[in-house]
């Protein structure tokens, strides 16, 4: 009897001692602990053949990190493209984005669960590049990264993932009708041509898109603009800012949209909404050093254009985007400057 009691006591002590370990093994989000268990690779570390690479024409600025992106759809499933600006992805969809500064540092992962909910996680690579482990939901600040700006690299928290991804009609960003259009913008900053990357046409021919309006295949969509520089500038803002700054999500209260929509009626083109909400519109936020009447975009006046000023700042209280970057995208700021100067030329010639 006494022996049994001691046995029970020992079991209880062991259970209590190992409880934290058991708790860690099962992530609250239901995500695998290792990237290798998400389905990205086959044996030997090669990308699975049914996982498809893609490359958005207006990529998100990530402090100059080299990025690779993939999508996987469950066999026999497809994306419902009947709402061209809000594709519906089937349950089981998985997407990955890998970040490298010299060596690979992080792979972000989102998946759609059977109940339709989206899960967000991030995997941190070991220094030897052999394994990537799920980061805590609170993220990891300032990992040593000798080749990254400031020699530091931050893994975003789940809240930060959701802050960007849940500001748009669909939480999949960078994989949309405009981003995958075969009519790619030659002036888009940081765009990459990736071998084998899927686009609108190849997705359609593979049977992975259904209900896509046929005219979008006949005339692939592009950012509407009055000049090549404007197309690239508005495309950059669409890809980098429009996920939050649109007129459908939580930031619609700001009455500023930087997202273009191909489904907008011809009588009220989306590009007009963008221009009307920023050009010559007084900014509620006034950065340090800005004139009192600063506009979101002030034609001909870079120093009075709040969007460009905030893009050119990494003061945490002023910078745009407010998260996910600690280094200014100088190429994009230069592009905005050319466009804003061009707006002055157009204004004076009219």
């Amino acid at each position: 009897m006494r022996r049994e009691f001691l046995h029970c006591l020992l079991k209880l002590a062991l259970a209590v001692a190992f409880l934290p370990v058991l708790a860690r093994a099962e992530d609250a989000r239901g995500l695998p602990q290792h990237l290798g268990d998400t389905g990205l690779y086959v044996a030997g570390g090669q990308i699975r053949p049914d996982v498809l690479p893609f490359s958005p024409q207006y990529p998100l600025w990530s402090d100059g990190a080299a990025k690779r992106r993939w999508i996987w759809l469950p066999p026999g499933s497809s994306i419902d493209a009947s709402a061209p600006d809000a594709w519906q992805f089937p349950p089981g969809t998985k997407l990955w984005k890998e970040f490298a500064h010299g060596n690979v540092l992080e792979t972000r992962y989102i998946e759609r669960a059977a109940d339709g909910a989206w899960r967000f996680g991030s995997y941190v690579w070991s220094a030897d590049g052999k394994d990537a482990v799920l980061a805590p939901a609170r993220g990891v600040r300032d990992l040593p990264a000798p080749n990254a700006p400031g020699a530091r690299y931050t893994i975003p928290s789940e809240d930060d993932c959701r802050a960007c991804h849940e500001g748009a009609p669909v939480p999949v960003l960078g994989f949309s009708v405009l981003q995958l259009s075969p009519d790619r913008d030659p002036l888009a900053p940081h765009a990459e041509r990736v071998a084998g990357a899927v686009d609108l046409k190849s997705l359609n021919s593979r049977g992975l898109l259904r209900n896509l309006p046929v005219d979008l295949l006949a005339r692939p969509p592009r950012i509407a603009a009055s000049s090549p520089a404007e197309r690239a500038a508005l495309g950059y803002l669409h890809g980098n800012c429009g996920n939050c700054h649109n007129d459908e999500g939580p930031l619609a209260v700001l009455e500023m949209t930087l997202a273009q929509r191909v489904a907008a009626p011809a009588s009220a083109p989306s590009a007009n909404s963008v221009m009307r909400s920023i050009v010559g519109v007084q900014s509620q936020f006034r950065p340090t050093g800005a004139p009192r009447d600063a506009a979101r975009i002030a034609p001909g006046h870079l120093g009075a254009s709040v969007i460009a000023m905030r893009m050119n700042s990494r003061d945490p209280l002023q910078q745009m985007p407010p998260l996910g970057t600690s280094a200014v995208d100088a190429e994009a700021v230069a592009l905005l400057a050319r466009w804003i100067e061009g707006l002055a030329t157009n204004s004076s010639s009219n």
């Binding site: 960007c164 939580p250 209280l317």
Partner: protein, 189 residues
Amino acid sequence: MKSLKLFAFFALVLFASFVRAADPAPAAGDPVARGKYIVSTAGCHDCHTPWKMTPEGPRPDMSLALSGHPEKFDMGPVPQMQGGWIASIAATNTAYAGPWGVSFTANLTPDRETGIGKWTARTFIDTIRTGRHLGRGREVLPPMPIMVYRNFTDEDLTAIFTYLQTMPPVKNKVPEPRPPATAAVAAGS
């Protein structure tokens, strides 16, 4: 026996007073009452309603209830911290200077241009839950106790927002926060 009855009577009165003191919070079924209860007990007025000096000492100016830092209040330059001191508080208890720069409490009234009149319950919940302005922008700064308030349920946060929308709107454009490097200069300018 008489003393026992008297004791029972006083015990009953005492019990009733405890019951009164421990009135349950308004039920979630009435979000305005619930929101008012939380706003009144969670210290929102302490910082979001500007204080003024009265003969009885500093008191919140309820004519400006929850309208945040008064835009025209001139605080002068930020004092230099010395020794073990780390932060300064404006006389209105609506502006704070510290290692984070200078922060100003927000206008929580439903004024559409300067308050939260255009916000939705989701905007409010996202802000408190993430600790980011509008749920997506810059971080909400000290001394806002985000780490405490983020533990409210969605139901309670919706109740708070619903109650705030019933407040009289006050037009007051609260200044943007100032970063540490320029805080002293800007405050003096």
